[in-house]
Amino acid sequence: MAAHSDPHYDGLGHHISPVRVYWLVFAALLVFTGLTYAVSFAKLGPASLPVAMLVACIKATLVCTFFMHLKYDERFNLLVFVSSLFFMAVFFGFTMLDVASRALVDPIEGYGVYEQYNPPAAPAEAAPAEAAPAADEAPAAGH
């Protein structure tokens, strides 16, 4: 069997990655982990979540490509795996469409979201304290 004499393939004709590749990928994973850890201390505000998720996706891709051998595997296995990500996106996407918009039709079931569309209690309670200045400015705004 010719396959046995070739150091790049095992007895089943599957690719054997050099040991060096595994350690290089590990080094890259460590660098990205350090990066995401360091970035978490920099106050990026709203950008911190997309940055952290981008780094996590890069790390996940490295693991899938080299450790899980998807680079050398049958394409069908890649398709199977990516299909799970697709259905996960459908799950997340449609659920969030519901959660984020339910308050438009139902203030009780839309708990926690309803307030974003209808800021209720806070202005109502604050009104007595600021009644005087509000009264002064109201006519001005009217004219």
């Binding site: 590990f26 995401t36 069908f76």
Partner: protein, 226 residues
């Protein structure tokens, strides 16, 4: 046994003289590829299984971003999470190298790398134990078990339900992985695996990398919030 295989007309295909070759497959390559497809289908199920809890995370973060931020910053230790990330990544390399040792038929390396992987998994669980007991002592627990004295905005008891569900389910996967790895170590030591038969090593490897993948997302989502 080899007689029945000879009847296939593929008796000379690599691995078809292996005692682990099952009679309903034509070649060992076909057997391995069928097994791997089955494993990938299982991993798809795992992704969707975990995605239910990630959905919980997304909705909770959407409704209570302040609770998430406060609890993560004050009650989760980034350094502990970071150490666990490195430990798990390292265990993923050693797992991949154990599979490679199976491909090249190096028994000694298989056993060594599997042992290192198991040790890493145990270190991971020890760090988790320290983190969990810290939270138990503070009363930072789910639902009506919640008795933490600090004033956390929003719904901290729900945050800790989320935290313990996500990390707990992941931890159960780590424990299941350790059991599978111990079984593999026994088989490796017996010399079951070689260049034409290493499917159990490879499939457990795929599972172990998925456990690593889940943690790659859990770590920034739970520990590194700003």
């Amino acid at each position: 046994m080899s007689d029945s295989h000879a009847a296939h007309g593929h008796a000379d295909a690599p691995g078809n003289n292996s005692p682990f070759f099952q009679h309903h497959f034509v070649t060992m390559t076909q057997q391995a590829s069928a097994a791997k497809l089955g494993m990938w289908l299982f991993l798809v199920q795992e992704v969707l299984f975990f995605s239910g809890l990630f959905m919980f995370y997304i909705i909770f973060r959407y409704l209570h971003p302040d609770t998430m931020l406060w609890a993560s910053e004050h009650l989760l230790d980034k350094t502990m999470g970071g150490i666990n990330t490195v430990v798990l990544l390292f265990s993923s390399v050693t797992m991949a190298l154990a599979v490679r040792a199976g491909q090249v038929g190096n028994k000694q390396h298989q056993v060594t790398y599997l042992a290192i992987t198991i040790v890493c998994a145990c270190i991971f669980l020890c760090v988790k134990y320290v983190e969990y007991s810290h939270k138990f002592h503070m009363g930072a627990l789910p639902g009506h078990f919640y008795s933490y004295a600090g004033n956390i905005p929003g719904e901290p008891q729900t945050f800790f339900a989320l935290y313990f569900c996500l990390t707990g389910l992941h931890g159960i996967h780590v424990i299941a992985g350790i059991i599978a790895l111990l079984w593999l170590m026994k088989r490796s030591a017996r010399g079951d695996f070689g260049p034409t038969y290493y499917a159990p090593l490879e499939l457990t490897g795929l599972y172990w990398h998925l456990v690593d993948l889940v943690w790659i997302f859990l770590f920034p989502l739970l520990y590194l919030i700003h």
